[in-house]
Symmetry: C2
Subunit: 222 residues, 2 copies
C-alpha cells in the first residue's frame, strides 16, 4: 500500500463552512464517526492515533488523514499498521481546512470505514477556526507544556469536546497542578470530557478507548 | 509600574516588511540588539527570558515585548522583575507582526535600552513568515516535543540564527537523539548556533548568556 500525498496549492479554495457541512453530510451517509485531533507540535497526536489503532482496529474499521506542514513521516507509520491513510501537506499552511479534507476523502474507502481520525497540523491557534466536517473535536495538551496553557490559548480548550492531558508519566519531574489545570479548562468549557493519559505507558488510555468505542457505536446506531 | 497592554484590532495594517525595516532602523539608532524568540506553546520562551533577565540585567539595560493570543500572565512576571515590558494581545492572531511591534516600541524607553527581547506567540509555523525588525531570530525546541520536529516544521529551523534545545533535564525520561536532532537542524541551516540547555536547572545556559552578551556588545560597538 503506498501513501497518497496531497500537496495543497492555491487552487483549492471555497467557503470553508459550506464545504465542512458537505463533508459532514457525506461522512454521515456512511455512518462514519469523524474526529479532528488538534494539539501543539509534539504533544502526542500521532502517538494517540497509533495507540488507538492498536486497540480499536479489531473493533472498528479505521482510516486516517494526516495533516502536516511538510513530510509524510506520520503517514508512513500509519501505513505500516495497514490502515488506509492520506497525507495532506499544507505547504506552509498552519491548519487543515474542509477543502483539503474533501480531497482526502476521495482517496479513502469510506464504504469500509467506521472511524476516521484526522490529525490536524500542530498548532494551538489556527486549526480551531476551521471546521472540517468532524463529529467530535479532541485536543491534546501535554504536561511538559505547562498548566497555564488554557489561559494563553483559550479558544481551542473552549471549543473541544474532549481534552486529553498527555505525558502524565513525566509528572514526577514537572511542576504541574492537574486539579488547577482541570479547573481552568472546565471554567472555559463546562461540558468538556477530560482524560489524563500517557500514550507511552498506557496509563488512563482505557477511559479514552471506552469513550471512543461508545461514540463509534452511537454513530452507527443512529 | 503597570503593564501596558495593546489589543490588536483590524485598524493596524500596513506592509509588514516595510514596517519591519523601519523598526530595525529605529532600534539601530539606539544601538539596541533586538531578538525575536519563537517556539511551540510551552517550550520555554518565558522561562528563557526570565533566566536571561536574571543574568543580564546588571550587564545590559533590558526591555521586553510579550506576544500572546490572550492574557498578560507573562508580562506580569516580567514586570515583577522591574524590567520595562509591553504586552501585545493578538486577539486570536497566530503571530506578531511589525505593526504590533511598532506600537509597542512607542511605549518602551528606547533611549535607555541595550537589549530588547520579543516573545512571539507560541506557534512553530506562522511567526516565521513575519519579520518584526529584529537583529537575531532565536527559536526554542523543547526535548519533550520529540526529535522529529525539524522534519515537520522545517522553515523556522532553517531561518533561525540560534536554536536552543530546552528541557534537557528531562532527557533520562525521554527517547530523544540529540546528535540526530542536531544533524537535521544543521542540514536545514548550516550556520545555525545550537545550545542544548535547561532553563529549569541552568545547564548549558552559560553558553547562551555568553553569546547574547557578545552580541549586545557587538551591536553597541558598531
Amino acid at each position: 500500500m503506498t501513501v497518497k500525498i496531497i500537496t495543497v496549492g492555491e487552487d483549492i479554495l471555497g467557503t470553508n463552512e459550506e464545504k465542512a457541512r458537505a463533508n459532514n453530510k457525506r461522512l454521515d451517509g456512511y455512518g462514519i464517526l469523524t474526529v479532528d485531533i488538534m494539539s501543539s507540535p509534539g504533544a502526542g497526536k500521532t502517538s494517540l492515533i497509533m495507540s488507538t489503532i492498536k486497540y480499536m482496529k479489531e473493533k472498528a474499521r479505521m482510516a486516517v488523514i494526516e495533516g502536516d506542514v511538510a513530510s509524510s513521516v506520520d503517514a508512513d507509520k500509519i501505513n505500516e499498521m495497514s490502515i488506509p491513510v492520506v497525507q495532506i501537506n499544507t505547504a506552509g499552511g498552519c491548519h487543515l481546512d474542509a477543502n483539503m479534507v474533501e480531497s482526502a476523502l476521495n482517496d479513502l474507502p469510506l464504504e469500509d470505514t467506521d472511524l476516521l481520525l484526522i490529525e490536524n497540523v500542530g498548532n494551538l491557534i489556527c486549526p480551531n477556526a476551521f471546521i472540517l466536517g468532524e463529529d467530535k473535536r479532541v485536543m491534546i495538551s501535554s504536561m511538559p507544556e505547562g498548566d497555564d496553557k488554557p489561559y494563553k490559548y483559550p479558544a481551542m480548550f473552549a471549543d473541544s469536546d474532549v481534552v486529553l492531558l498527555n505525558k502524565i508519566d513525566l509528572q514526577p519531574h514537572l511542576e504541574f497542578n492537574v486539579d488547577g489545570f482541570k479547573k481552568i479548562v472546565t471554567g472555559l468549557n463546562p461540558d468538556v470530557i477530560f482524560f489524563p493519559v500517557s500514550c507511552k505507558t498506557g496509563a488512563g488510555m482505557d477511559a479514552w478507548f471506552a469513550w471512543l468505542e461508545s461514540a463509534v457505536k452511537g454513530k452507527k446506531n443512529r
